[in-house]
Symmetry: D2
């Protein structure tokens, strides 16, 4: 039975699930920020592996094929689970941090300058 | 004014913010799954850079130093922002996907076998 | 004065340079395989950052622009320097390992099956 | 029969092997710099996976266990093979680029300042 969904689930609820999973297994001892940052990056690598040789445009359709899609959902979940456990272990309020970062990004990439351009802010 | 926090913010709210940011800048054209997976992995690399030469144990304290902590919060946010935009562009319900993945993980790592052990499930 | 070039430089010569650099700075204490694998992956992330929003085809030309090319050469060098230091610290003969891996790859991807196809060997 | 080893093999010889492998399979069409940078980073992630939950110190011994060592040699080879193919596809003289980068690193990390310290050059 699925009880979590983006519409109703807060980050705090996911954090609690992820923390509980680690605590039940006595895994907090392994979850140093250094280790979690590595695990996160390794999972990000696995997500990328689905798109190595396809073009960017073709990757939009590739994610629709059911078997591939199920695997991609798993890799993406692994990435976010480690990001959330990193937030757990370091006491970071992730939603607040994201809001601050997006405000900083908005200042670096003002709409009138950045619209339709993929350039780095230093080159706008 | 900060309005988002883990206690009250749902993933759908963060998704909407991240999507709005991209749409205002006409950036969806760049946000193919392939490209987002790369950006996510590159940001994961930047998060790791804070912990390259420290021991795992020392990394628990390293995240408490205020200047470093502010940067780490930014890198972690970047990772999650790209993960969320990936979910936006592919129509993935992230909370539901995480719940499914955690159920699969629980089956691979039963508490009685995995407790206190960092081994891969194939070696338990 | 440049003295190294692909045509004449052996891996052993590069290994010795990289090792000497670390030894002069008393850095071998930091160069545990775990740490070097992270540094390598972080540098790989920096190399990717040059290609996030470009198409694969356009990336073939992007590497020709002189300023960008100089940076890309630096990122690629960083990756290989860490790979070589990893080989130094673990006593791996890199050329021999590459030869073995290429023989394994040739068995997984026989020319007649793999020609012109980007599929994983499990799907050929 | 093994014919390559670090003592005698030049980078040009490895480049030729790697290029020949791709050409026989008509894979150059897939080997855009963007794609190769992703493949390289994904393989770097696989190398890291061997060291996620071990301490840095323990990783020095972990690489000596024969079964694990064989896998680590394969992952390291994959990383370097993609780096070399990147150099092939972009016409980079890797040994010369490494020599230039090491000269730049020596300027950023002078022995008298950097000795025994893992700090970034901006903090020396």
């Amino acid at each position: 039975m699925s009880t979590m969904s983006d519409d109703v689930t807060t980050l705090a609820e996911i954090k609690a699930r992820v923390l509980g999973f680690a605590q039940e297994r006595d895994w907090e001892q392994f979850h140093a920020p250094k280790n979690l940052s590595m695990a996160l990056a390794a999972e990000a690598g696995e997500l990328m592996e689905h798109f190595l040789w396809t073009t960017s445009e073709a990757s939009r359709d590739a994610v629709k094929e059911p078997v591939k899609r199920a695997k991609i959902e798993e890799e993406l979940s692994d990435v976010v689970i480690y990001a959330i456990e990193f937030a757990n272990m370091t006491g970071i309020d992730l939603a607040a941090a994201i809001e601050r970062k997006m405000a900083a990004n908005a200042a670096k990439y003002p709409v009138e300058k950045a619209k339709g351009r993929a350039d780095k802010y230093t080159e706008l």
